[in-house]
Amino acid sequence: MKKLCLNGHKISNADQKALDHYLLTTAKEWAQAALNGMVNKSVKTIYRDWIEIYKSKHEEIPGDISQIIMGILEMPEFKPYNRVVEEPDREKPQRDDAREDEIWEGGFDVEDYQDAALRAFYKDPEESLYDYMENKIAKRKKAFIRDCEPVLLNEGKPIASRHDKFIKDFTKRQDYKNRRQRDEAEGINF
C-alpha cells in the first residue's frame, strides 16, 4: 500500500463555496474519485498497449491484474507515457482570499501496483491530481459567476468584479441554495 499527496492541499473559503454550489461530495471525495479514474486509465491503457508483447514472452500469464501490470512494467522494452494534464483542461482559479482550508488531510491510499501504474503513465501523478483539483475549482468559480450574475443583473444590484468577493456575497443571500439543498428541494435521490 502507498500513500499519495501527503502534503495535502489548501483552498480558500470561496473555493469551497463554489465547489459546494455544484458538488454533492466533499472536495476530498471528488479528488478520490478523480484519482480512481486516473488509476483505472493507467492500468487499462498499459494493459491494452502492452499485453500482447507480454504474452509473447510467456507460455501462460497470471490471472491477476496486479501481477500482469508489474510484469509489463518490468519488461525492458516498456517505456513510460509521461502524461501531464494538458490545456485546455488546465486552468488556475482567480483567488484573492487566503488558502486556509485543508481538503486532502491524510492523503490517498493506492495499492502498490496501482502506484506503479500511475507513475508509469503520468509524469507526476500527484502533480496531475493537484492540477485536476485546481482546474476544477477554477471551472466551478467561473461557472458560479456565469450562473448567478444574471440574478443580480435582473435585480439591478451591484456586481463584485473579483471571484472570491462575488461568491461570498452571493452565498450570503437568504434565498441561496447549494447543490445539495437544491437537489433536496427537487426531491432528487442521493
Binding site: 455544484y22 458538488l23 454533492l24 461530495t25 471528488w30 474519485a33 478523480a34 480512481n36 479514474g37 486516473m38 483505472n40 486509465k41 487499462k44 491503457t45 491494452r48 507515457y81 494534464v85 494538458e86 485546455p88 483542461d89 485536476y132 482546474n135 476544477k136 471551472k139 466551478r140 461557472a143 447543490r179 437537489d183 432528487i188 435521490n189 442521493f190
Partner: protein
C-alpha cells in the same frame, strides 16, 4: 494521411473519405448478469455496483466496469442509458438518474401506468440520454430507484437492453 501526436494516431481518414478517431472518448458497457432484488423499496441502486459491467468498447480507457465514467477533458458528453427492470411486484415509480459531479439529471420518471406488471411479462425498458457538461476528472454514474413494493425488483441483464454508453461530443 493520418493525424498524429507523439503518442497516438487520433484522426484517420480512409482513401474513400471516411474519418475515424480511434482515441476519441467513447465507451459502451452492458449488464451481462442480472442484479437480483436490488431495489423496489426505494433503494437507490448504482448501475455496475452489483455485478461488474461488460465492456463492448472503451476507446480511451475512461470507463470502469464498476459503472463509473471519468471525463478525461472538460467538455460536453453524450451519456446514454438503457435499463430494464423485472419482477416489478406492486412498484409505483421507476426513476433513472445520471449523476455527474456537477449535476443530477433525472432522465426517466415512470409512473404505474408505464410499468409492466403481467406475470411472465413484467419487464419495463427505458432508454434516455443527456448532453452533460463535465470538467476534467469529473465522474458520471447511473442510479436506478424503484419504489412502492418490496426489495424484489431486478435490473435485468441483456445483450442490448441494459447498458451505459457515452461519447465526447465537443
Amino acid at each position: 494521411m493520418a493525424t498524429n501526436n507523439n503518442l497516438n494516431t487520433y484522426i484517420v481518414p480512409t482513401s474513400t473519405n471516411e474519418v475515424t478517431m480511434p482515441s476519441q472518448v467513447a465507451f459502451f458497457a452492458r449488464l451481462a448478469t442480472t442484479d437480483s432484488n436490488v431495489t423496489g423499496d426505494g433503494t437507490a441502486f448504482t448501475f455496475g455496483s452489483g455485478n461488474a459491467l461488460t465492456e463492448i468498447y472503451d476507446q480511451n480507457s475512461d470507463f470502469n466496469t464498476n459503472g463509473t465514467f471519468t471525463a478525461p477533458v472538460t467538455g460536453r458528453y453524450d451519456l446514454v442509458v438503457s435499463n430494464q427492470i423485472e419482477d416489478t411486484g406492486a412498484a409505483t415509480t421507476y426513476l433513472i438518474e445520471i449523476i455527474t459531479s456537477n449535476r443530477t439529471y433525472i432522465v426517466a420518471n415512470v409512473g404505474p401506468q408505464g410499468i409492466a406488471y403481467s406475470a411472465g411479462a413484467d419487464i419495463t425498458l427505458v432508454h434516455s440520454a443527456v448532453l452533460a457538461d463535465m470538467d476534467a476528472a469529473d465522474t458520471a454514474t447511473v442510479q436506478i430507484t424503484v419504489s412502492g413494493t418490496g426489495k424484489t425488483v431486478d435490473i435485468r441483464a441483456s445483450t442490448v437492453g441494459t447498458f451505459f454508453q457515452g461519447t465526447l461530443i465537443c
